[in-house]
Symmetry: C2
Subunit: 500 residues, 2 copies
């Protein structure tokens, strides 16, 4: 794309000035339109060092209301905390709220192409990054984000003369660093890598706009025109349904909930003996997981009063409290609702070596949000694939993902609700909403069966915990966690890192 880039004809100075003023004014009113249409806008600036991204940015925002946009500078190398999470993480936690503009001074392109140029990313790793990026960008767009990507292009000669000029001036010399000189010295190699990246991530829903950046005023106008036109299209297209994609992930077969026998039991002695042994083993494994920097995600879903809380407690009792965190997931808060629905889970991802336990999860999308009409039909239908992609991203980074469905029958739920109602210390656990949900049992069961069927991937399968007898369910959960961690530790045998 860069190699074949044909410079657009440059207008006269006066024409640039007139058109720029018109576009700046248009952007100011588009900003209000975006706010009212509640579209989140991400404007991404990538390009050659000294290509003038900062100067163009200042001109682009000139007439915008500074209260309703943000600028994020992402060019720094990832910190240790960031390196201990999936590659996408430090970017995705930055996505803006609905109705907000966010400008990014470099985005994941910079990190990936730098990785290739420094030889840190081999061909396979690069391909995986590209897959991750394409999935992430598509998910953002399918969920209503407008993503505008600009590449600021200048020639090697132009770059060299800018670097020389910046370096010569004591006011600006600090802006030039070794990476800039290196890039200029290796311009052709960089060009090849950038060109490849642009081609690999250029899709109709989020195309690259290459900006001829030799002249700053002209570059500004190009950005403004593309941006305004992109915004106008996005507002027009707002609310259109994104395609429901065919499943491409390997799935395991599932059994409908109604066919799962719930008569499994454990007597008290056996329970206590197994509990003790499994917790002791889990405790050792937690140490191993920590030393080998394996991230672990345990997701709990289940009927109200199925015994999730008590089950989780039997897991955590074996863990070092400094190495895990339980996330109770309630109704999203306004700032969470205003972003991609997975955002609040991205933010809660554990760093490597840590365990995150979710008490209810992202699957709320295809249960409560589906049944209560909290998202559109298209939203929840698309979500199965999006959640599989999300979990694939996690397991590809070496995470262990364990998903539990805690199952009871309707009669058992009634008994437990009644018990909660009648026991003063347990009354905080039961609300009117629980009773209302219970009335929709059959609808929920249908939704859950569909969820289990469509998201029971080989890399992040569901485990049903038969919990009419809570002791049985607890032992089964502990055994599954122990086995999953044993397998993960065995796979990394000999690759233990330093504790931190």
């Amino acid at each position: 794309m860069l190699k074949s880039f044909a410079r657009p004809p440059k207008p006269t100075k006066d024409e640039i000035k007139a058109r720029t003023e018109a576009e700046q004014a248009k952007l100011a009113s588009n900003q209000i339109a975006i706010k009212e249409a509640k579209v989140p806008v991400m404007v991404i600036f990538e390009g050659w060092g000294a290509a003038g991204k900062g100067g163009v940015l200042s001109r682009v925002i000139k007439d915008m209301d500074p209260r309703f946009f943000e600028v994020a500078t992402m060019g720094a190398r990832p910190t240790e905390a960031e390196l201990r999470r999936p590659f996408l993480w430090r970017y995705l936690v930055e996505v803006p709220e609905q109705g907000q503009f966010k400008f990014f001074d470099t985005w994941w392109k910079e990190e990936v192409t730098t990785g290739v140029l420094l030889g840190e990313l081999d061909r396979d790793a690069y391909d995986r990054r590209i897959d991750s990026i394409n999935v992430a960008e598509r998910q953002l767009i399918d969920n209503g984000y407008l993503v505008m990507k600009f590449f600021f292009h200048i020639t090697q000669k132009e770059q060299r003369s800018r670097l020389d000029a910046l370096a010569a001036d004591s006011y600006t010399s600090w802006r030039v660093n070794d990476d800039d000189w290196w890039e200029n010295d290796h311009y052709d190699e960089c060009l090849r890598v950038y060109d490849r990246y642009l081609r690999d991530t250029n899709r109709s829903s989020a195309p690259w706009y290459i900006i001829d950046s030799k002249d700053r005023a002209w570059a500004t106008l190009q950005v403004l025109e593309f941006l305004n036109s992109g915004i106008e299209t996005a507002i027009q297209n707002r609310g259109i349904a994104a395609p429901i994609r065919q499943n491409v992930f390997p799935l395991r077969r599932t059994v409908p909930l109604a066919e799962i026998p719930l008569d499994k039991e454990l007597d008290d002695d056996e329970y206590k003996a197994q509990l003790k042994a499994l917790q002791a083993r889990l405790s050792e494994l937690h140490n191993q997981v920590y030393l080998r920097r394996i991230p672990v995600i345990i997701a709990y879903e289940g009927w109200d009063a199925a015994g999730k809380g008590g089950n989780i407690k039997r897991i955590t009792a074996a863990l070092d409290p400094r190495g895990y965190r339980v996330h109770p997931i309630a109704k999203p808060e306004p700032h969470e609702l205003a972003r991609h629905y997975l955002w609040r889970f991205w933010r809660r991802l554990p760093k490597s070596g840590h365990i995150a336990i979710f008490d209810r999860t992202w699957y709320g999308r295809v249960m409560v949000e589906r049944l209560e009409g909290l998202c559109s039909t298209n939203d929840w239908q698309r979500a199965y694939n999006e959640m599989n992609e999300f979990e694939r991203e996690l397991t590809d980074c070496g995470a262990v993902v364990i998903k539990f469905w805690v199952q009871i029958d309707k009669q058992t739920q009634l008994e437990r609700f009644t018990d909660r109602q009648n026991t003063p210390e347990k009354q905080w656990k039961i609300t009117d909403e629980d009773w209302r949900n219970r009335e929709k049992w059959d609808l929920y069961e249908e939704a859950i069966d569909e969820m289990l069927r469509k998201t029971n991937t080989t890399f992040a399968p569901w485990h049903v915990l038969e919990s009419n007898d809570k002791r049985y369910a607890r032992i089964k959960a502990l055994r599954i966690v122990v086995e999953a961690l044993e397998a993960a530790v065995a796979e990394r045998e000999g690759s233990a890192g330093e504790g931190a």
Copy 2:
């Protein structure tokens, strides 16, 4: 305190076991009581290396519901992003929500005493830290936090034998680091510094509990007993009014709003000429501020329709968009309401070299929250001093704090409201709430006069911007910002750091 610590008589093994089980059960029910009473609880563990904080923690939480507490490990040295903010910052952003327990595996004691032992903190710097800490702890407690501080104490000999044992076992050797050996080699020196710190931060509202940690079971029981008793006292005392402290900060005199003449004007030519010159100067200064790593906070308060937005825009127009952020402050979200009211502002503090502009601020506490009954009388009366302390903390770290009150008269507001109502592109700016607030003009004026009088400190004074003529107000604001930044840059002349 440590030097004179008298070990409490240790009960028999059986007695420890029985009392521990009782206390664990009590803590589980206290956890629910805390949740219902909406008290936020911070439990801080400090102590000698290898004193067994982690093991005790595991036993303390044994019966707690893991969904309603968190553990934060704070012992790592501060990151670059943390070092570029006030010392207290990385701790205060971690405070828990109402009704939540949060355990901290070390807190600010660790950072301060390490600083003293490494010679990084001289006597003056140490004293400032102690002042900051005492103010911060008091503010948390006055705002309803329960802060329980434990120091895990063992002798030099005991520590040495534990370190030897840990190091000898391949399963645990990674837990021992050079700092632990250093601490043991310099036990007496450390003891002196820790003892001093404990004495300096031991107050009746947040006393230190020294835990005899030679025996882990006994240490656990001591913590549990202190913790349960602290919780019970806190629940009993919930809602009591904290003292309103006498002002100790130097104040400038203020003029009541009613006496401020609002006839100041600028003609268009003069406005444009001054605007251009001041923005050019501000633009240069932004570069200086960035290079010298000066944090800048500009706070805007003012009547609805006073022209805050347009005023802010004239400031930001001169700034590099990568170096500032405008924070529009609306009604707090639930997770913000559930914490200390300054928490949402701590989180938005700029890093050094950056500029944060607040469109409405923490002063909402003594205006809208006061007048709408969103906090208690004691809360807002206490807030004047708390906000002065907050700003003092910022300026002590070298921040420039500029506070603007944007002033118009009642008739001008009416004209602007009517104009907004009648102009389609401006209608989003006016809501029913604006009209309701207008009805309370006199009450607001009284509250504002009190606010200006009580928080017009010499280190963070208020500047009234007469904004019946918006042009006059914009030029005045620009001039004040330019002068403040010039003074700050001059003060640091010759101390320019590296750009980053």
